[in-house]
Amino acid sequence: EAGVTQFPSHSVIEKGQTVTLRCDPISGHDNLYWYRRVMGKEIKFLLHFVKESKQDESGMPNNRFLAERTGGTYSTLKVQPAELEDSGVYFCASSQDPREKTSYNEQFFGPGTRLTVL
């Protein structure tokens, strides 16, 4: 079974440019999460989709970030315009149904996209 995939693996852009990151969750996983790790800091939650709906976007830093999940399959995270402080590793994770209380559904992580804004 294929795991969570992310594209690109690395992106180097200049300040003010736009970048779009893509995440393909494990097939059948309704829940998709975006996280970010800025160098030297902890991995921080950005947002959570349940199918195509945004369940929780409390972690999105500002309105330069736009996440979509049309059709409830893959998701994109666009940063426009990018700023220096957006540099970091962006992780995507997916899970089945966290509302199932008899067992906790593990979040499976992708390899991350390393974004460098110059």
Partner: protein, 116 residues
């Protein structure tokens, strides 16, 4: 605000030494607790988890962790480390408010280097 603390940022051990990595979270309520590991060049992967029941949890590769509710802690242990345990270890917590979101709050990570 919800937060998770990992006390050791860098740990260097010799093979066969015992390991204990500390993890504390900010306050109580119903929590789900995790340790993730990232080996060099690999994805984050789940090492072990606590959801309910026995507070001593056993994970993969000989790791275990103990949930002590009164101390808000979930420390990771391994009696004898190997060179292949060299990795970054992350403690993560999810607070359960009965909703559908199970976002993870992570600690800053601990880099473990095991010398042969």
């Amino acid at each position: 605000a919800q937060s998770v603390s990992q006390h050791n940022h860098h740990v260097i051990l010799s093979e066969a030494a015992s390991l204990e990595l500390g993890c504390n979270y900010s306050y109580g309520g119903t929590v789900n607790l995790f340790w993730y590991v990232q080996y060099p060049g690999q994805h984050l992967q789940l090492l072990l988890k606590y959801f309910s029941g026995d507070p001593l949890v056993k994970g993969i590769k000989g790791f275990e962790a103990e949930f002590i509710k009164s101390k808000f802690s979930f420390n990771l242990r391994k009696p004898s480390v190997q060179w292949s345990d060299t990795a970054e270890y992350f403690c993560a917590v999810s607070w359960d408010y009965g909703g559908a979101t199970n976002k993870l709050i992570f600690g800053t990570g601990t880099l473990l280097a095991v010398q042969p």
